[in-house]
């Protein structure tokens, strides 16, 4: 496995950005508020470190490429599972204040997941791609099917929230936006990669890396940006003024 200078640069940027995201989550004390997303990010930090370690050992010829390949795709499987868990966490956050709607939204989202799963299986069967039969083809078909589902679920979640007119919390919106952008660019990329075959491998991996970095940048932006102060819609409350005035009077009388 030989990487160009651009590949190393993109790898380093994405690694740095995911570490910053993890730091931003800790700094903003969002670990308990967004536990699944934090697990996803922390897992990616760990995964990047492990893969880089294996890559270095491979360069020193102490490990072969097969090790890297299997660790990468095993790690990708865990990442996919965590990715779906993040989407579920986003759904829960968007609907958390609306009991009845949450049930309806959950049913609709579950229905959409089943439809998308069927669509993903059908597209995998209809267009198996240019790679010959084997693990590489299976891996790219799985990747494509997963992106179809993630793109569809996030798109549906956004449409559902629009339909019911539900407002999004800034940070949850940022996570969904970054995730959605990554899933959609990856979907287009992996669809073209599967169609073209090995010839498109290098460009596909660079596009995926740039997409991932853009997604993480969006997360960092929304995580570090302060949550907008609540706009209550009114002026300073008369009730509150009275209460403050009363409290101040009590202090002055002491």
């Amino acid at each position: 496995m030989s990487l160009s200078a651009i590949d190393y640069l993109l790898w380093a940027i994405s690694a740095l950005l995911i570490v910053i995201t993890c730091g931003a989550l800790l700094k903003r004390k969002l670990v308990h508020d967004l536990p699944v997303f934090f697990t996803y990010v922390a897992y990616h930090v760990l995964r990047t470190a492990v893969l880089f370690g294996i890559h270095l050992l491979h360069l020193q010829q102490r490990m072969n490429y097969a090790h890297y390949f299997y660790v990468y795709w095993a790690g990708e499987t865990i990442s996919i599972v965590l990715g779906f868990a993040v989407i579920y966490e986003i759904y829960r956050k968007v609907f958390q204040n609306y009991g009845a709607l949450r049930q309806l939204g959950g049913t609709l989202l579950g229905g959409a997941a089943v439809v998308l799963l069927v669509a993903a299986v059908l597209t995998a069967a209809a267009a198996p791609g240019a790679d010959g039969p084997g693990i590489v083809r299976a891996v790219f078909l799985l990747e494509r099917s997963v992106r179809v589902m993630q793109c569809g679920l996030l798109g549906f979640l956004f449409l559902l929230a629009f339909y019911f007119g539900l407002p999004w919390r800034n940070r949850v919106f940022g996570i969904a936006l970054g995730f959605g952008l990554f899933a959609s660019i990856e979907l287009a990329g992996v669809a073209l990669r599967t169609q073209v075959g090995v010839a498109a491998s290098a460009i596909y991996s660079q596009v995926a890396s740039v997409a991932y970095s853009c997604c993480v940048l969006i997360w960092i932006f929304y995580l570090l940006a302060p949550e907008p102060a609540p706009q209550y819609g009114g002026v300073v409350l008369h009730h509150d003024l009275e209460r403050w005035n009363q409290a101040l009077s009590e202090i002055l009388q002491r």
């Binding site: 956004f158 019911f164 007119g165 936006l177 959609s184 073209l192 409350l237």
Partner: protein, 179 residues
């Protein structure tokens, strides 16, 4: 090739949805004092009249069949515009209520919660009413009433006035007129 093109189209559509989401997300929360800049006024009496079954029966008796159908379709189209306005206002008031729900004063937060619930209920019913009204434009003799929507809208306005009285009593009358 067709499947690949289809998947690329799906990806592009997903990106467009995201672009729309960004635009929508950064729409500011309307201030009560300037609510009329965001909402669309609804003449509740006129709206009630348009979907009143008794009024419809009266017109049916007074007019020949063809004329009644034409007039009734016109009335239903105007009613559709009113339903669209109530739905639009419900979406605006949902944002107002959602912001006020985080208010430190529990009385205000409770009033805001009621406004949010009322806006959500109206929003869902307005979508249903739109379908019913379209069906009735096709079949003007069908007897499916959407009269509940006006009661729900009145309830929403009452919740808004209640919230405004707690936050800024001076502009309660103006807010009520804005919707």
């Amino acid at each position: 090739m067709i499947t690949t093109s289809l998947l690329v189209v799906v990806a592009v559509v997903a990106m467009l949805v995201l672009f729309y989401a960004v635009r929508r997300h950064h729409f500011p929360t309307p201030q009560l004092q300037a609510l009329e800049e965001y909402t669309r006024p609804v003449d509740l009496a006129a709206f009630r009249n348009l979907i009143d079954p008794a009024e419809e029966d009266y017109l049916r008796l007074q007019l020949p069949g063809g004329k009644f159908h034409a007039l009734q379709r016109q009335r239903l189209r105007v009613a559709l515009e009113y339903v669209a306005r109530t739905n639009y206002n419900a979406a605006i008031l949902l944002r107002v209520g959602e912001a006020a729900r985080r208010h430190p004063n529990p009385e205000v937060a409770a009033a805001a919660s009621e406004l949010v619930d009322s806006a959500l209920r109206l929003g869902m019913n307005a979508r249903l009413a739109t379908l019913v009204l379209y069906a009735r434009i096709v079949l003007p003799d069908a007897r499916i009433s959407v009269a509940r929507i006006t009661d729900m809208y009145e309830n929403l306005v009452q919740r808004l006035v209640q919230l405004t009285r707690l936050q800024d009593p001076a502009c309660a009358a103006r807010v009520s007129a804005a919707v």
